[in-house]
Amino acid sequence: MAAQAAKKTGGSRSRKTQGAAKAAKANTEDYLRMYRQMVKIRAFEDQANQLYLSAKMPGLTHMYSGQEAVAVGICEALTDEDRITSTHRGHGHCVAKGAEFRQMFCELLGREEGYCRGKGGSMHIADQAHGNLGANAIVGGSMGIATGAALSAKLQGRDFVTVCFFGDGATAQGLWYEVMNMAALWKLPVIYACENNGYSEYTKTEEIAAGSLTARAEAFGIEAHGVDGQDVLAVNELAQRLVERARHGEGPFFVELDTYRYHGHHVGDINRDYYRSKDEEAEWKERRDPIVNFGKWLEAEGILSADDLVAIGDEIRAEAESAVAYALNAGYPEAGEVDMHVFAGVDHALPYIDGYAKGAGA
């Protein structure tokens, strides 16, 4: 059963998309929201890339552009109570889970109004209110956290589901096998969502992954699926089903989502000829772009006109630009903030660790 579900071929994708589209509830509002969310992610990343290129953003960032259908398709199947853990390439998950542009750009620019008060930055945005337990700069670093959140749900009898996003590169981390084992043993409500964008940093996935990724999950008795990660409806349809089943104790699940990152490993990875061709990039951008294709489908279904699509793009771009302008003028954290939030219940860590200030309850 599981093995069958994991089977996928390139040829079957378009049929599957249409099948999924028909099967999906004809809910115009949901479609519109998914489209807008994908456009939001793309607009966010375009602005983030510009901030980096114009040297206005400290540090580096990793672009999610191209993978929008994965984050949106899955997160649209989740509630705010459901948790996700994210990765270094995490802006998409963050937006898809409901985060606001302003606080995100403020975080990218190290400003006090950022989601983490400027202490996390691009690779550590966490948005507790929407169930985002945070991006993680260690590849595979959040696999334990996601599985532990699922354990928490089970122990406390709560019905939230946790989705653990990670890339193909993270499947090489031993931690995944440890936590999959426990998740399977204890039937935890966790979905491991592997975004296979074809590259483990600067190396082709086929050079770092032996055998099949889905088969690895299946070895633990975990039901595994493969899906076209550029097809937001297909992703969402699968996610809806799996989330509901996980909520009812049928988890865990594994999903491998076939997708592509348009940019390099990070914004500074410009010369990519040595690991992938421009033709390949063009092929994905021109033929398999998740936003363009979903827009065409919406047009074909008569849900939106071509003008509507342009208007949505313009509106969201303007929203992103205004958020960037806001963030560029937002204030940095005060110097006194530097030793705050090291310990919960302790105002300032430095006097505390030397024993000159007592923490709450300590």
């Binding site: 114009s54 206005k56 500074g268 410009i270």
Partner: protein
């Protein structure tokens, strides 16, 4: 283009130089490498050469002037015209002439979407334009390679991020452009007069950081103006340094607490060493130190009160130099003339010996400005004898300033007594600076003994 001649920095930590003389006159033609002027610093005198061909003009400082380093002293003009004009007294304050900003008068940059030098790698500050793939005015499509850029890591193409016309190219091949600076403009409409030029030297606004103010270079630095100096002859002398700087015989090893308590109680841990106790000392050793008999001289100190730790006492005397001069003249005739410091060291050692009770060897360091020699017991050998230099820690330092213009000194604290001898006409002035290590009474004995010997040198020989 005229070139500035500035007062160069000729040595380390040099603030200014004195123009000894000009070797060229205003209006003279000069060639690169020609000596322009002679400059004197505290270290040396040297010639300053022309760095450009042209004509010496606008000479702003004359012989004898002390000029801060970096200040303009003249101009090398391209033509003889105007050269030879009268030196201008405050010329240095004038802004540098005819500095036309490179972009002034250039065509206005057309409106459109700005293309900036992108950040292409980690920690990259700028990129060098290798070549443009599009010509100014040419239509471009989104994704077209506009230009090739080289960083320290790699060479790569920068693509147009929108379609339009390349209305302006603002940096040429070879330009090293800061990240964020505008290098081109893409306009929506075909430009009437596309612009192509090299990177402007001056900032063009936008994301570019402001450059240095052009006028700032020519401003003189007021604080480097030399203070009205003392006598020029004296100023030309090497800076007087505390003579000899005798190295302490070694730190007395003791615990921080023992050291602190000893200081609080005014006890000297060195007394424990002198009494034969072995360091390092701990608090327990302070008991022994407190019980040590006080040095006799210190007990005898009376009247004005003894000089305490860290305080400097000064004893002064004046002596008619005639006897000393005659004595030296006589030695010279005998053909055995010792140096003045050597002679003084012998006298001082003899005087100090009389002020002391012990018979330990007496090392005296003596010298003029800059050079100091130490001898063991210089009073116990004939003054003409060639004594070996001593490595021992001196008990007394003697500074012979009789050959200089110096007439007085306010002594700094020194761990050993210092006698300074200056001369004014036929009078020798003696100053003894001492700390508690030489009790007041001993200091008086020492200086009066030295004064006696200088007045009647023959007495020393007796």
């Amino acid at each position: 283009m005229p070139h500035e001649v500035i007062m160069p920095a000729l040595g380390m930590a040099q603030d200014s130089g004195v123009i000894v003389s000009w070797l060229k006159n205003p209006g003279d033609p000069v060639k690169t490498g020609d000596a322009l002027m002679e400059v004197e610093t505290d270290k040396a005198t040297m010639e300053v050469e022309a760095a450009h061909d042209g004509y010496l003009a606008d000479v702003r400082a004359g012989a004898g002037d002390s000029v801060p380093v970096g200040q303009i002293v003249a101009i090398i003009a391209e033509t003889a015209e105007g050269a030879g004009q009268a030196p201008s007294g405050n010329g240095a304050e004038r802004a540098a002439p005819d500095e036309t900003p490179a972009q002034a008068g250039a065509e206005a940059v057309p409106e459109g979407h700005e293309v900036i030098m992108p950040a292409l790698g980690m920690a990259q500050d700028s990129g060098i334009v290798v070549a443009w793939h599009k010509e100014a005015g040419e239509a471009v499509a989104e994704g077209d390679a506009l230009l090739e850029v080289e960083t320290d890591k790699a060479t790569m193409e920068v693509e147009a991020d929108r379609a339009g016309y390349l209305a302006a190219i603002l940096a040429e091949a070879g330009d090293d452009v800061p990240v964020g600076q505008v290098i081109a403009v893409i306009s929506a409409e075909a430009p009437g007069a596309p612009i192509r030029r090299a990177m402007a030297a001056a900032p063009q606004g936008g994301a570019t950081a402001p450059g240095p103010e052009p006028a700032a270079r020519a401003e003189p630095t007021p604080q480097t103006e030399p203070a009205p100096g003392p006598d020029p002859a004296a100023a030309a002398l090497p800076t007087p340094r505390p003579a000899a700087a005798p190295k302490p015989a070694g730190r007395v090893l003791a615990s921080p607490k023992a050291r602190r308590l000893a200081a609080e109680e005014g006890l000297d841990l060195a007394d424990l060493v002198a009494a034969g106790h072995q360091p390092p000392f701990h608090v327990a050793d302070l008991e022994t130190l407190r019980a040590l008999p006080k040095p006799a001289a210190a007990q005898a100190a009376a009247g004005a009160g003894p000089v305490g730790v860290g305080e400097v006492g000064v004893v002064s005397a004046e002596v008619d130099a005639t006897g000393f001069d005659a004595f030296r003249a006589w030695l010279q005739e005998e053909g055995t003339a010792p140096s003045s410091p050597r002679l003084l060291a012998a006298f001082a050692a003899g005087a100090l010996r009389a002020a002391r009770t012990d018979e330990a060897p007496l090392t005296v360091a003596a010298g003029t400005l800059g050079t100091t020699t130490a001898w063991d017991d210089p009073d116990r050998a004939p003054v003409s004898a060639d004594l070996p230099e001593s490595e021992a820690r001196p008990r007394l330092v003697l500074r012979d300033l009789t050959g200089t213009a110096l007439t007085g000194i306010k002594p700094a604290a020194a761990p050993v007594p210092v006698v300074t001898i200056t001369r004014r006409g036929d009078t020798l002035a003696l100053h003894l600076a001492h700390e508690a290590t030489l009790p007041d009474e001993a200091a008086l004995t020492l200086l009066s003994g030295l004064a006696d010997r200088l007045q009647e040198p023959l007495r020393h020989l007796l």
